[in-house]
Symmetry: C2
Subunit: 188 residues, 2 copies
Amino acid sequence: MLEVEVKYSVDAFAALEAALARWGAPLGPPRRDADHYFNAPDRDFARTDEAFRVRSVGAKNYVTYKGPKRDRETKTRLEIEVALAEGEEAAADFRRLVTHLGYKPSGIVRKSRRVAHCERDGFPLQVCLDEVDNLGRFAELEVVAPEERYEAAKALVLAAAHELGLTQVERRSYLEMVLATSAGADAG
Amino acid sequence: MLEVEVKYSVDAFAALEAALARWGAPLGPPRRDADHYFNAPDRDFARTDEAFRVRSVGAKNYVTYKGPKRDRETKTRLEIEVALAEGEEAAADFRRLVTHLGYKPSGIVRKSRRVAHCERDGFPLQVCLDEVDNLGRFAELEVVAPEERYEAAKALVLAAAHELGLTQVERRSYLEMVLATSAGADAG
């Protein structure tokens, strides 16, 4: 399956919250994500445009691989996510395991996320309102679609973003932005 | 933690079953293990004496890293194991995920395993009676011990093996043996 995704920088969430309510897509309660990213021993994911991370959401843990982005307008890419055992120990053990395989921690992204779900044109659309530590506010729209529905899914997320009044496209990942920020801080 | 382990080839299990009963360590019911091993993109685990596998035991799944063996008498090594989500789909997804990271399937080991637990000299000792598909019967004795109790744990597993009458030491992993067998079959 493909993760067909667009991301926008936003100044405030109020207008988005109102639009989602009109769509009949209420936002869930905020959750805290801690995403630990790793770089590979055999290639540089910053160059190959891949990502490998362990995400902890409360007690739940997930390991995720993301392939290179497919086009220039969206952040569409292959995504494979598998749940690990719950709890801090399982997450720490898995991070230690991949370190022994040669993976190096590349950065941690922490954010508060609220998620709304709705259906549009037969696709399950997910809208995330993110407050990312030290970065600011963002809205992500995402559809998970099979390869053969890629173009339709892409048109749909772009139309939905337009309808929500989103204009400031952000193509960089949160990890790239966090690393750019800390590099700036280091330089300063 | 270290996995302090010895393995022996055995002709039959009857004498071992009787000895374990005398120890008050009854064998659990047989379970089927399917171990999918992978080789790394940046090094050859057969040369570095490491192992990386996804084990499925019924619906349960585990991902395991094993470091190089520490000594010549036992199979002692670092072991990190983390449970994945249950079910065949999670195991298949995880195997697909590591393939995208560049790992290559190196072999599958399938076996029926019965496990007995007992305590000896304050250590929790695990005895496994394994019938490995196409390889035969083996007994494994294992203690998981902290680094500082390595020598005591090693002495204990060797003494317990002696007491059980085990003599035919097998240092090779099941994977190595499976690969040797299939290489022979290929050559024939």
